[in-house]
Symmetry: C2
Subunit: 362 residues, 2 copies
Amino acid sequence: MQRKSGHVTLLDIARACGYSVSTVSIVLSEAPLSQNVAATTREQIRKMARDLGYHPDAYARSLRRRRSQSIAVLAYDLSDPFCIPIVHGIQAGLQPVNYMPLLVDAQTQRKLFDSYLRMILERRAEGVIVIASWIFQETNLLDDVEKNQVPIVIVGRDLTNRNVSSLLVDNEAGGALAMRHLIELGHRRIAIVRGPQELFDTELRWAGVQRAAAEAAVKIDPKLVYQLPNITNSTSGFEGGFHFANEMLASKRPFTAVLAFDDLTALGVVRGLNGAGVRVPDDCSVVGFDDVLPAAVATPGITTVHQPLKEMGLLASEWTLQAINAREGQSHKPAQLYNASPELIVRMSTARCPSAPRKIRP
Amino acid sequence: MQRKSGHVTLLDIARACGYSVSTVSIVLSEAPLSQNVAATTREQIRKMARDLGYHPDAYARSLRRRRSQSIAVLAYDLSDPFCIPIVHGIQAGLQPVNYMPLLVDAQTQRKLFDSYLRMILERRAEGVIVIASWIFQETNLLDDVEKNQVPIVIVGRDLTNRNVSSLLVDNEAGGALAMRHLIELGHRRIAIVRGPQELFDTELRWAGVQRAAAEAAVKIDPKLVYQLPNITNSTSGFEGGFHFANEMLASKRPFTAVLAFDDLTALGVVRGLNGAGVRVPDDCSVVGFDDVLPAAVATPGITTVHQPLKEMGLLASEWTLQAINAREGQSHKPAQLYNASPELIVRMSTARCPSAPRKIRP
DNA sequence: TCAAGAGATTCAAACGTTTGAATAAGGACG
DNA sequence: CGTCCTTATTCAAACGTTTGAATCTCTTGA
């Protein structure tokens, strides 16, 4: 009974129980017509399909239906812990409608990116979700996708100006949240490690930090503001944090807290401070951003700004499905922007400023 | 010129330059016959394909060729940092032969696992690579795959007894490596946190630990041996480590080092010890296993046992491709086992035993 | 008795490729 | 002039589904 292809087909089932391929198809795909099929026939066909271990061929089906039932999820760098919760959200959104996520990791390599983009196009993904943890300037990479009228949604970056629906955390609010936390703990001399210039997040978080400082009438010493170089690999944030912690100490300028661009940078700062005998949080507080696993399991646990990544992933998948359905109905879904509200997660790396008088909260 | 499907087909190209679909297909797929096609024709067709932005339809092609050109990568829990380097290795192996990895994350949920397995079968993956970071006992889940004669390779677990090619780190050697390191640093009173009973790794690492102890004539105090409960979520290792650190301290039994089942457990131990004012590594050394990112960026960095994950992933993809080719040629590739050599990564969490006399190495 | 409808099932074309076999147009040779 | 190679191109069937239209067999009502 082994077919040459090694897979059971409708024809096998049809022959095995004496009906035509059409009838079998109608029953197994639960087409509207199947209510006209005699109940006994239905049962017989279903049983045979089960016995033979039939699985419909997605290729034949998609070819005929002209729907691939799949959505590409293109991560720029899956090794960034930031990505996984987003992927989980996407999976959760795709599961109920039986869409397959085509998850690929470009590993920040242009060559891989192109190659996977081609595969995605060939596999006729009905939509593309891009997870841009940190992303090159080159955004025209997706032109090919747009040309084929495939809806795109991007997570982690705002591309609404290019008419692409985007979901990201409200970086300005997050920066302010982190800064306000330090200020409320009594810190006044706060060192800042800004993100790399190439990232959009950098300016927004910085704006939030400045706003919070201004609101509390706290001055930021420009000599205590550092900027990470452009990213070269996934641990360059850590190395940058380590490096700048040493610079801060060498500068001899007093500071009691460090606001780092992200969690890995914060962990690098902690390492740097520790090496010089500065204890966190007793002598100096450190705050991060992103709430990734390493920040949670380090000791001290890093106080950080949490992004609702899973929710963002879920919403991204919903938007993509809506865009697909809209296109199906000849209409068009305009690009949307979702600015997720960040949340402060207080752990052990921040404490009341040692020299500061206890402040009475209003 | 917009097709109803929204995608350019061979027919479009054929019409546009006045040749038949066959000729176009022969040229673009670089079939053997294409050397018979006039050079001018070839060029003309290629140009038109480029201009129209043609991408061959993988569904039609696979249907006809009876090859899906894709391999499923089924991760039990992608949020385990352990998985990503393996995936990178697999991608590296699949890239040159133009296979698409169908990467899915079962999130340790039976329901998801089943659902994705069905999708994989429907998409006619030619092979399946399972990444079993930590895995249920239920191994018959893959029966359905085997029934369809799809080759399976598993990473992170030995299933050669079920005739499945397996790649994993030599856990026994790794356990011995970690233990020997502590012993060489002069530690004699070493607490051990064993892994969960349900994991095969647990017994093997434990055997290695015991061997190293025996070889050095060091006794392991059974009262200082703990066992992690079965895993419920991805941070339960951390929580277990934290919990047992407190138990060790409460037991009042002296110990100068802790050998933890994996890195997250080690990080939990560090947190627990720190909470009681025990400094790592000054008062107590801690060693982990796996070499995941959080272990590297924590302070102190965790001394650990590295697994060559990327190489294992690469080899897994090669084995899978070999098995596919073998099946193509009507032959059969017998199940193989690869025991990767672990490597000790010395960081900052281990130090010479405070009370021990300096030992002269031979 | 016949037309009309309902119920159950099948026909046949289509989706976009690939590929073995067929065709057509040119020589070269006996 | 017919035969036999090349060279260049096309035919047509097939892959496994889906689905609008068609067929066949009953029943029902006039």
